[in-house]
């Protein structure tokens, strides 16, 4: 499948074909296909820093892929490449077999800092993508209400963003992303800044929404347990340059919970694998070599 020697596939957990949730795909053609994707950064000193090194990954339609890695492994950058917000130095991203060249509403990002527009109300934020597409106002409103209902925020449609809590903001961001009807949701540590209870709740909501809408999700996190809690598959990234170290198929039954022993056990195994990379990143930080 790939030229990188690091890629192997482990199968952990229970063997179960239909592990609950949306339209699980067993099609031959992947939704997303990353081929030898590399990215160089220009560091401050002028030398080029290799952020991503020949990433090869495939994501099937309807699949929930989680990417974990230490900070600085380029996992967020990968999402920007898929979204078309950054250009790769080499390699390519294929979506339904077509090369991604720029941004498109078939791939929507959800940012850690949510990126909602403070000058718009909740409702107007959710409508934004549809408005850009030129959808008529009446239809926009109708769909907006539907998605706000999905994230349980219909009462807050006229609120401004600063009036909402962190968890509510992320739910608006999810509704805004879904409203453009994307095939793929790209989630960049969306729940990292939230408190534990809110995060639990949003895990449940996300799993439910995913099951209902059947979207393909690529979810980046540094929290292994969160990855196991949510993902059909977890890809572990190495520390700089980012490579796919290993992929794990998670066949635990859904709905899952963060505190399930099976989730915790699987997470521990993956974490052991990741430990080495975290150590490397810490060492780089201690040596002051942490360039961005």
């Amino acid at each position: 499948m790939s030229a990188t020697p690091h890629v192997t596939e482990d199968v952990l957990g229970l063997q179960q074909d239909h592990a609950g949730g949306g339209a699980r795909a067993t099609q031959a053609k992947p939704k997303l296909c990353l081929q030898d994707l590399s990215l160089h950064y220009k560091a401050v000193a002028g030398e080029r820093l290799l952020a991503l090194d020949k990433i090869n990954l495939q994501v099937s339609a309807g699949e929930f892929l989680c990417i974990v890695g230490p900070s600085g492994c380029g996992k967020s950058t990968l999402l920007y490449l898929i979204a078309g917000l950054h250009e790769p130095s080499s390699g390519k991203v294929l979506m339904d077999g077509k090369v991604v060249e720029r941004t498109g509403t078939d791939r929507i990002m959800i940012f850690q800092e949510h990126g909602l527009f403070p000058w718009l109300t909740v409702e107007e934020n959710v409508e934004f993508g549809m408005k850009m597409k030129g959808i008529k106002k009446a239809q926009r409103r109708e769909q907006t209400h539907e998605y706000l209902k999905m994230v349980h925020l219909q009462k807050f449609q006229k609120s401004y963003i600063h009036q909402l809590s962190g968890g509510m903001r992320q739910r608006v961001a999810i509704a805004r992303a879904l409203a453009t009807e994307p095939d793929v949701l790209l989630m960049d540590e969306p729940f990292a800044a939230l408190d534990a209870q809110t995060r639990d709740l949003l895990h449940d909501e996300l799993e439910r929404i995913w099951a209902k809408t059947g979207r393909t999700i690529v979810f980046v996190t540094h929290n292994v347990r969160e990855a196991v809690r949510l993902g059909d598959r977890v890809a572990v990234f190495t520390f700089r340059p980012g490579r796919v170290k290993r992929e794990y198929k998670i066949n635990l039954p859904r709905p899952r919970h963060l505190e399930d022993t099976a989730v915790a056990g699987t997470a521990r195994d993956i974490l052991n694998d990741l430990r080495e990379e975290i150590d490397k990143s810490l060492q780089a930080e201690y040596e002051g070599g942490k360039q961005r």
Partner: protein, 253 residues
């Protein structure tokens, strides 16, 4: 309500002290006229319409000069923010020009345009364009990148991205710029009007001096302060408040 009462008491006291000083005749009335003379000057000015005309003429200067400044300033600011080379060259020049008091443009304006309305407009434009430009540029540069990324991600490109994302995202800076631009324009206006024969408020002020008519001088000054306060304190502040309410910024009172 309480605040209004306090303010009223303060101004009443101020006028009272002024009346008292005038009554003591320490200085002759043509140096310190009593408040009633100033009031009469205002009343006469409005009755014979000379002050109304002056306000009208000055307003027209402001609308024209400030309007051109805003359009020009925003356009320049957007160009500077978009182009690194322009920013490094023209940007530096604009910042240094900004340190020039607008009255210093006056001799040049008179030589170029004569003692005409155009000279006044020129001084206003030179005085206020740059602060609009600089705020616009700062706004476009300081705006968090995530807004433009989120906008592009949701399908906004080029003109749509500019109109629906970049422009509103830099609105707090733009409003600051417009407000500053207004303040500079207002100051420049009188620098220009004092010199020319334009029938504006500045000219009325100067006419007061020429006629040794202190009540008129003070009356015009009060008008200038009052109009400035109304526009700045009510118009701009209410726009600012609305924006701060939307964005959840703390109101700066």
């Amino acid at each position: 309500m309480r605040r209004a009462a306090r303010q009223f008491a303060f101004y009443a006291l101020l006028v009272g002290v002024w009346a008292l000083i005038a009554r003591l005749h320490i200085w002759p009335p043509y140096i310190v006229p009593p408040p009633i003379d100033v009031y009469n000057a205002l009343k006469d000015g409005f009755e014979d319409r000379s002050l109304l005309i002056a306000i009208g003429v000055s307003s027209r200067h402001m609308l024209l000069g400030y309007g051109i400044s805003v359009i020009l300033g925003m356009f320049l600011g957007i160009c500077l923010a978009a182009n690194q080379y322009l920013e490094q060259t023209v940007g530096g020049l604009l910042v240094s020009l900004q340190s020039m008091p607008s009255i210093c443009w006056l001799p040049l304006a008179v030589l170029w345009f004569g003692l005409s309305e155009n000279a006044i407009l020129f001084v206003i434009i030179m005085g206020s364009t740059l602060s609009v430009t600089i705020s616009m540029e700062t706004g476009r540069k300081q705006m968090p990148k995530i807004y433009s990324m989120a906008g592009r991600n949701l399908g906004a490109r080029k003109w749509k991205l500019f109109y629906h994302v970049l422009l509103p995202a830099s609105m707090p800076y733009i409003i600051t710029g417009l407000k500053q631009g207004w303040a500079f324009a207002w100051r420049s206006l009188f620098a220009g009007e004092m010199l020319s024969l334009s029938l504006g408020l500045g000219q009325r002020l100067n006419a007061g001096r020429d006629n040794n008519d202190m009540p008129q001088v003070i009356a015009v000054m009060i008008l200038i302060v009052a109009i400035g306060y109304i526009v700045d304190g009510w118009l701009f502040r209410s726009v600012e408040r609305r924006l701060q309410h939307k964005w959840g910024l703390l109101p700066s009172t």
